[in-house]
Amino acid sequence: MDIHALQQIVHQTRDARRKQTIPKFSPADRDQLIHKYHPDWRASAYRPIRFGPNEGDKTVVELATLLEGDSPIGSTVDLTPHHTTDVLIIGGGGAGCAAALHAHGAGAKTILATKLRLGDSNSVMAQGGMQISVAPEDSPVTHFIDTLKGGHMQNDHDLLKVMVEEGPSIAKWLIELGVLFDRQADGNLHVKKGGGSSKPRLLTCSDYTGLEIMRVLKDEVINQKIQLLEFCAAVELLSDDDGRCTGAILKDLDNHQYVVVAAKSVILATGGIGRLHIQGFPTSNHYGATGDGLCLSYRMGAKLDHIDTFQYHPSGAVYPEQLIGALVTEGIRSEGGQLVNAKGERFVNELDTRDVVSSSIIRECEEGRGIRTMSGRVGVWLDTPLLDAEHGPGTVEKHFPAMMLQFERFGIDISKDPVLIYPTLHYQNGGVKIDTNSETNVKNLFVAGEASGGLHGRNRLMGNSLLDLMVFGKRSGLTAASRTGSVTQGKLTLKHVERFRAEAKKHGNVSGVISPMILPAYTRKVG
């Protein structure tokens, strides 16, 4: 059928749906729904990791294979450093920039290496906003409770308390750097309500929150003359005789040469894993989201936490073909956008947590109430025109200019017609286990942002990622910088790789891959 004919049911049922309230699931119903439909519970997609710090723990097959993968570095490589620094930061997204600015600000010699350009990251795409409890009726404790509920009570309490308490001072820092958050008429910060949150707490820069923050942070990194190594992918870490982290080997992607960096501390801010396309899902993630930091720190002996749980964002585009997997911001649902199945019915409270909403969309589609595309995809409608109907014409255009433009390029006006969506692989809930200074169990190896684990429990609350990046980027940067005086540069060895290889051999060298992946293999093999 013509897409417009299929969309009619959404237009026809809009007025009736507007009056409807859908209660959130009870905890028991919610668990039942998730266990039945959430991809995290698809047992066949998982297997135990055969060896290493998380031996026996289950994770998705795609990740387990990479974690057990071999290092690209042979034992004969020359480890004479090309650069020597106090702090080496690997990753140029939000956490990497925040770490670099704070380490540099504290007087440490800082190098930021990134495999693409400075700023090419998921952070730049964050649209929904950043949760910080600034409203008078809100508090850090309420933020803590909401996050805990979203994370199925599995969040690390210490990490979480630190994040919610440092939120307001992070907002102040960003404002002083020139970030333009949306304001109320009285000059105070405007807050929006996010899914799974009991209070409005999302700071936004229209639907460009991540872009605005990253424009400013990138500019500041350049203004501060922090040394950048762009198009340099980390391929191995370096350790001394006591197993402490002492630097990294990078690969210059322009000339394919190795670049050895000696550092007193290393901060991995390498982001997530969307480009592994776990369980065949499309992803909202950037080109480099291949879980490099997980592989590097795992080989070094760092323990991972919650690596069996991933976030599938409820609203990834399914149509048009060119936008498959791209995110349709949760902000649309925050402002009242409803999810509607092929029969014109709502089926979930749109502001429930992401795992619940995604599970219910999958349920609708598996039970035959989805809308299919000819390329074999299926989805449900997100009623975007409802926002204009509810809040006046022009609302969608004014509040979601990025979304409008993205669909307009393919001849779709989302203020007039609903959007077809299905869950898309969005976020790695877990990662490398860290303490409140963002340090791993490997001395002088820090991990900040999406690559770290524990903070978000088994499901990250929307809007908590941008804050995570800023808070733990800052803490890793400051802690690493504070060690400059007390730590002497350790030897550069590959002993951890030797140990890892010995263990892999005991287990039959079965992985058969080299990790980290660096970039996904999208290039078609021609001929």
Binding site: I3, M125, K149, M153, G187, G368, G370, R372, A402
Partner: protein, 237 residues
């Protein structure tokens, strides 16, 4: 209960017929499926792309591309991850352009509107050719923005350039050697850091946290066992 959803299928003739089209990438001809994005066409053609791909979501500006459609002399600009290929299209990615970015300490500026002319002395030399506006894949009225910056209307510039993905396509076309996106970035940051009211409520909250206003509540919550905490969480709606 499973129901029949075979009626609910969107017509997509382009998917069904899977028509191949001929395009030109940096002057070389390739056959690729119609309608895939410019980036995907490069992968389909067997090209490794390292520089020129970033977020793949239309936000990072890494994939700035020049293209021309069949028989049209007009060279246009696009983000390669956000544009579909069509028959006869010819494109090439924009190489990194050596624009000059001024260095400044945003917090220490004394007179940001005047400082603009020291940091970017070329900004007032705009000759109104409008090429920057035509080059912008985000449809920003770039030329207007440059003039507003020069006339000190920093607020309008910051609003106009909220959509800017810093792809830099406005820069190579400028006959006055202005880098409009960098000028706008400076102006927007100055607007945020110097000309926007400080949110009073934020300072209040920071002080409350520092003064321990929430300490009792924290103590209560953090001393709960797992069951108590779950019950408490259930009361927060």
């Amino acid at each position: 209960m499973a129901t029949d959803d075979s009626q609910n299928v969107i017509d997509q003739p382009e998917v069904l017929t899977h028509r191949m089209v001929t395009i030109e990438i940096a002057g070389k001809k390739y056959e690729v499926p119609e309608g895939i994005t410019v980036i995907k066409a490069m992968w389909y053609a067997g090209q490794e792309v390292v520089r020129g791909v970033g977020c793949l979501g239309g936000f990072c500006g890494a994939c700035a591309t020049y293209y021309r459609t069949k028989d049209d002399p007009k060279v246009r600009t696009c983000l390669a991850c956000q544009t579909a290929v069509q028959d006869g299209m010819s494109f090439t990615m924009m190489p990194p352009f050596p624009a000059r970015k001024a260095l400044y300490d945003i917090q220490k500026l004394q007179d940001p509107k005047q400082d603009l002319f020291n940091l970017y002395p070329e900004a007032p030399l705009c000759r109104n050719c409008n090429a920057c506006t035509e080059a912008c894949p985000q449809k920003i009225d770039v030329r207007e923005g440059v003039w507003k910056a020069v006339f000190g209307d920093f607020q309008s510039v910051s609003e106009m350039f909220m959509d800017c993905v810093m792809c830099g396509m406005c820069t190579p076309v400028c006959i006055a050697d202005i880098a409009p996106n960098l000028v706008a970035l400076y102006v927007s940051r100055a607007q945020g850091a110097h000309f926007t009211e400080k949110p009073a409520g934020l300072d209040t909250r920071i002080k409350e946290i520092k003064d321990g206003r929430f300490d009792d509540e924290w103590k209560k919550v953090l001393s709960m066992n797992e069951k108590e905490l779950a019950e408490h969480c259930a009361t927060v709606k």
